[in-house]
């Protein structure tokens, strides 16, 4: 048992699923999961395994099929919509009709649970709206229309809206789905610092494994056989949990988890191996990418049956054949041409 902060949200024996007509389809069951304040928790799992269903069930947006979700010690099912909206905010990837609102107006919708019948904003509300925009780095776009934003800015505005809701828990369903790599890293780092600085429990689902493993404090890994492993990121990696995410793909020779890289990598066929080259190189980076080029082309780097590659720099590479013949190359591309 960890002795850190008590969890803000906890599930016990939770079963989730959906109604397919009159039939109930249970997707996962027996889930014991925890969310802690001040932590970024990342939900990983393959497509269609039920990540969104899990998020929506925990958020009380759809009914559970068994077990409980405890929020601040009370069952989520017992909360009214209004009460729940002060505890928990969500960011979906839904297309909205909000293009005709300014960013300021969009973020101010986050104050909905806190304002009165007409939704008037007082000074306190306005301050929180401005602070939320500043925290997500979107303040300079306050007067811009949502329709004019890039995908990354739009996502930041939606996160600012969730912040303005002032809930201890924020859940995000694939917040980085439509973003380029720079915006993905930016959004993920933003969520991590929000969890740290504001003590919020942030839960998000994503397919960006390498970024998740760098920034997540805790992981929920949905395995191929529909169990959820929950724990500290590094503990889960070292216990081999990540391999179970795509175990069937690994067996087919597809994606396998590379512990050193911290990401899923393509498993290259070894049976068509053309033989091997040894690499002699002092530059770690250079030798890494030379090995990458050789492996991709079906050579091994363990044996020197075909010769030795001596690399001084990226533009000074030599191949020494067993016959003693030496071929000089000025790029990896030339090297590949020489040895293929």
């Amino acid at each position: 048992m960890q002795t850190r902060v008590a969890p803000m949200l906890e599930t016990r024996g939770l079963a989730i699923g959906y109604h397919d007509g009159k039939k109930q389809s249970i997707v996962m069951s027996g889930l014991d999961l925890r969310l802690r304040g001040g932590s970024l928790t990342v939900l990983l799992g393959r497509n269609g395994i039920g990540k969104s269903t899990l998020l929506r069930t925990i958020a009380g947006a759809q009914p559970s099929f068994g077990g409980t979700v405890q929020l601040d010690g009370n069952d989520v099912a017992g909360y009214g919509k209004k009460e729940l909206s002060r505890k928990l905010s969500l960011v979906y990837t839904d297309r909205t009709q909000a293009g005709g609102l300014t960013v300021w107006q969009l973020v101010s919708l986050g104050r909905y649970p806190h304002t009165g019948f007409f939704g008037r904003l007082d000074r306190h509300d306005r301050e929180i709206v401005e602070r939320s925009m500043a925290a997500t780095g979107i303040a300079h776009k306050g007067d811009a229309f949502v329709a004019e934003l890039s995908d990354g800015e739009r996502q930041k505005a939606m996160i600012a809206r969730a912040l303005a809701q002032e809930t201890p828990i924020i859940m995000l369903d694939e917040p980085t789905a439509f973003l380029d790599v720079a915006s993905r890293i930016e959004v993920m780092a933003l969520l991590h610092s929000l969890a740290r600085e504001q003590g919020k429990a942030v839960l998000l689902s994503t397919h960006d494994v390498s970024q998740a493993l760098q920034l997540a404090d805790e992981l929920w890994v949905v395995t191929d056989d529909r169990h959820v492993l929950c724990g500290c990121t590094e503990d889960l990696i070292l216990s081999g949990a990540m391999r179970l995410m795509f175990s069937s793909a690994g067996e087919r020779g597809g994606a396998t988890f590379d512990m050193e890289v911290g990401d899923f990598c393509a498993q290259l066929p070894t049976d068509s191996c053309r033989g091997g080259y040894a690499i002699e190189c002092c530059d770690k980076l250079l030798s890494h990418w030379l090995a990458n080029a050789l492996r991709r082309n079906g050579f091994s780097t363990a044996a020197n049956s075909l010769g030795t590659i001596i690399a001084a720099a990226a533009n000074d590479i030599a191949v020494k054949r067993p016959s003693g013949e030496v071929v000089r190359c000025t790029s990896v591309s030339e090297l590949l041409a020489a040895i293929m």
């Binding site: 209004k82 909206s85 979906y92 005709g100 919708l109 649970p113 306050g142």
Partner: protein, 350 residues
Amino acid sequence: MSEQGVNRRRSSTVIAILALSAVVLAVANLVIGSVDIPLGEVLNIVAGKGSESSSWELIVTQSRLPLVATAALSGAALSIAGLLLQTLFNNPLAGPSILGVSSGASLGVAVVMLALGGELGTLFGTTVGGYVSVMVGALAGATLILAALVFFSTLVRGATMLLIVGIMISYLASSAISLLNFFSTQEGVHSYVIWGLGNFSGVTLGNLPLFATVIVLALVWSLLLVKPLNALLLGSRYAETLGVNLRHTRNSLLLLTGILTATVTAFCGPIGFLGLVVPHIARLMLDSSDHNVLLPCTMLAGAVVALLCQLVSVLPTSVGIIPINAITPIVGVPIIIYVILNRKKIKYFN
């Protein structure tokens, strides 16, 4: 950051322009008609000072004032109904006529007029009870269609498909109306056809209080829904996470749309295009989807467009009056085509 300084100035300007246009068009409608009455006389009569000609006074007070009030209120009502449907179904091309709500109301009227009522003369136009029964019929028809739309919206994914379902429902309602006409008496059919052309002069001075009370109450009710309407711009899933009681809100919006559409349809006939077009006019003028300003502007713009159509309909005074439904598409279609062609550039579509 100054909160929306520019926007606020723009919306005040838009409201001022619309209000001024409404007043000018209202006065023009009092002056122009089968008999043109001098502006000074009209103003005297409206101010209660009377006129040198008692027939002018009669025309203005008994006929044109109720006409102007009916046109303005109907325009506002149908436009608000359109706006509520557009926000509720997350579809800027929704409207009471395109989704079949107007047809549903017409069917209700047809049932009362053709199947139950028989002759219009006894039922319609003379007694308040007659109007009430036509209104109830229209409301029942409109509500039926709205309930069907809600049912289909849970089954059909995608906003366009729901529009097509609405159009199909319209066809069904029209075919039911045709069947009713086929089996009805000649007088019934005649009065139904006249009613179906659309006409703001259907509300007499005696019936105006009833009509105006219902419409004004419904419009005030719509103003109370500004907060959830803005939340619905994010889509219903987001609105729910903000604490919006979805079922309650949706039922209120649908009932409100039904009351607005049914009341206007019962008195003035099925009037097309206003509900679809006017919210676009308001949004384009305001450059905003914020319901705080969009609702009042849509009401005003609806009144302005309806008064304009009414004015055009009486312009060829010697020949007679053009049916309103011959004019609304001429105003509406170009705007809708413009909106569709420019949807990539129009903010509220993105």
